[in-house]
């Protein structure tokens, strides 16, 4: 796939989403649901960077996501900040969470990394859950969407307006993500997933690469969380819970691990699917669980990964690194079980 074709396809997707507010009513979807897809896709990208590209089981990204949401909500509630400032504060909160946890996480690999991510991520859940006076505890905190202030102009951000804010951030995130994974840095991350000892023998300090990857991922998850909190005007402890991390990982697998656009596809299926199922039945959790099981057993490459494997995929929509999916191929996996 040529660079030109890739650009055209990507542009087509963005243009399609630019008409989202007019398309979504045709699908009987509220525009804020589609905003949710774009916002969650950023968080899924953060998991994709760590798990899909670097091979680290990132089961704690909800911590940064929730920190973003709480960062935005708390700063609006207690310091009356404006819309743009709330986004920045939430994003920085996610980054700070990453800075705190990264030194612990990057010491380990494989399932040990996964276990540490789950356990450490849960700290923030309990803090939000326990400090009821500040955070509203289990019920969470409702915060009205702040005004958008530029110079002397004040404006409220409608759901319609928010959609384009979300789209703008999503486009920035995709471009940044693609740039990162195609850069020498991103290539090194892929190499770490494929064979970390070899990368070390080449003289690279892999811990340092993973540290930076963790910071990038926590920033992205923080941004996603901040936008998500502002979108639903609500911050609640379950945003920080490891269940949420699991949903991100599932979305990533559904879309296609190690593919640039897989995050959007996965987020789309997860958010829209959840919305539809939860309106049809109150047993949605059974369906969601079954989706996990079925996806892992029968569909581990995800949609874009499968398309790519069939050779029909527009390569631009996947990653030109064919091996990216080989690691997720059940038949190609070598050493079983053990973490490293």
């Amino acid at each position: 796939m040529t660079a030109r074709k890739e650009l055209l396809l990507s542009a087509a997707v963005v243009v399609l989403f630019a008409f989202g507010p007019w398309i979504s009513p045709l699908m009987h979807l509220d525009v804020s649901i589609v905003s949710g897809v774009l916002v969650i896709a950023i968080a899924v990208m953060s998991v994709n960077l760590l798990l899909g590209y670097t091979g680290l089981p990132a089961f704690g990204n909800a911590a940064y996501f929730g920190l973003g949401s709480y960062g935005a909500a708390l700063s609006v509630k207690y310091f009356q900040v404006h819309f743009a400032e709330a986004i920045v504060i939430g994003t920085v909160a996610g980054l700070l969470g990453g800075l705190i946890l990264a030194p612990f996480l990057l010491r380990r690999r494989g399932i040990y990394f996964g276990l540490l991510s789950i356990a450490f991520g849960q700290v923030f859940y309990f803090i939000a859950y326990r400090y009821t006076d500040v955070t509203g505890g289990e019920d969470g905190m409702q915060v009205p969407r702040p005004l958008f202030v530029l110079a002397n102009a004040h404006a409220t951000v409608s759901d319609f307006g928010f959609y384009y804010v979300a789209l703008a951030f999503f486009v920035i995130a995709v471009i940044a993500f693609r740039t990162i994974v195609r850069s020498p840095f991103g290539r090194t991350l892929i190499a770490i997933r494929q064979n970390e000892p070899r990368v070390r023998y080449l003289g690279l300090n892999t811990d340092r690469f993973i540290f930076v990857a963790l910071l990038i991922a926590s920033t992205m998850a923080g941004l996603s969380g901040a936008l998500s909190g502002l979108l639903i005007n609500f911050a609640f402890p379950l945003q920080l819970d490891w269940h949420q991390s699991g949903y991100f990982v599932l979305s990533m697998i559904l879309g296609g691990a190690g593919t640039v656009w897989g995050s959007l596809v996965g987020a789309f299926i997860y958010v829209i699917g959840n919305d539809i199922i939860s309106t049809i039945t109150s047993w949605w959790q059974i369906f969601l669980g079954a989706l996990f099981v079925a996806c892992v057993l029968f569909f581990p490459r995800g949609i874009l990964g499968t398309l790519q494997a069939l050779g029909r995929a527009p390569q631009a929509f996947g990653d030109d690194d064919v091996d990216a999916n080989a690691a997720f191929d059940p038949n190609a996996a070598g050493e079983a079980g053990r973490g490293v």
Binding site: G289, F292, A327, R338, V340
Partner: protein
């Protein structure tokens, strides 16, 4: 405050014994197959609810304590054979994700069968009172719990060190291919190992139901402390799981006494401190799990 110290310390040990036994089951499964069993809590809840139903049907508590975990083991074997086994050859996070899905389904199923709220599951009358330990009074049921859990741990230790099968199991943890080459059916090993883990979880589930209450999420509430326990004790070490569990239990009970608001966070602080001093956990082995 100080007069509560003794009972609270003992409470912490009881709680710690729970964490230890859940962590033991998790570790068994994790060490051999690299599977992080997120559905472990669901098996505990399942055994708890089964025992609750049995006691309602006038089956003695003692029988329920054995039968309910055995039924959970039966379910576990089916799950292992059909769902977990295909994943052994894949990246470990797949089985984590799959068992996570199972726990979501199980939680909803419990809600549908036994109702969304907790059910009252009180210990049998014979164990209901309080016993004198000489220096303090303590609920009989909790003493019973400690005794049962100690027996379970001792039996596990004997099984792993004194029986041929246990030796094979430990050998398989070190080198599965070699033990297969020497003529051991590793599929059977995996199944028995999984069952052992589930059986421990089942016993803990029944006892925890009587002490901490029974609800669709009650087992999962014990899962996170058990993870922390495994990390503190060190992955790959069963002995570490026991010590780690007791440490976590004491840490939680002490902070509950002195700083109640920090009771959940305390174990994570403990975990962070342990990892700073010993990145592999207290008894974690060199080279295992990176």
């Amino acid at each position: 405050m100080i007069e509560h110290l003794g009972p609270q310390l003992f409470n912490g040990l009881v709680l710690g014994a729970f964490y230890a036994i859940v962590a033991l089951g998790l570790s068994l499964i994790m060490n051999l197959t690299g599977t992080i069993n997120m559905a472990h809590g669901s098996f505990m809840t399942l055994a708890g609810y089964l025992a609750y139903t049995m006691v309602l049907r006038k089956i003695p508590f003692g029988w329920a304590l054995i039968l309910a975990p055995l039924i959970a083991v039966l379910v576990g074997i089916i799950v292992e054979r059909t769902l977990v086994r295909p994943l052994y050859k894949r990246e470990p996070f797949y089985s984590l994700l799959m068992t996570f899905g199972l726990s979501l389904m199980a939680e909803e199923a419990f809600r549908l069968i036994w109702g969304p709220n907790g059910v009252p599951f009180s210990p049998p009358p014979a164990l209901a009172g309080a016993a004198s330990l000489g220096f303090m009074q303590f609920p009989t049921f909790r003493i019973f719990i400690v005794v049962v859990l100690l027996i379970a741990i001792a039996a596990l230790a004997l099984f792993l060190t004194r029986t041929r099968f246990g030796l094979r199991l430990r050998a398989a943890v070190q080198d599965t291919e070699m033990i297969a080459a020497l003529g051991t059916n590793t599929q059977v090993l995996y199944a028995v190992n999984f069952s052992l883990g589930i059986f421990l979880a089942g016993i803990a589930g029944v006892l925890a139901g009587g002490m901490l209450g029974l609800s669709p999420t009650s087992g999962n509430n014990l899962l996170m402390p058990a993870f922390v326990t495994v990390i503190i004790g060190g992955m790959g070490s069963l002995f570490g799981s026991i010590i780690g569990g007791l440490l976590v239990g004491i840490a939680i009970s002490m902070t509950t006494l002195f700083i109640p608001a920090a009771s959940e966070v305390s174990m994570y602080v403990l975990m962070a401190i342990v990892l700073l001093v010993r990145p592999r956990g207290l008894f974690g082995e060199e080279g295992i799990f990176g």
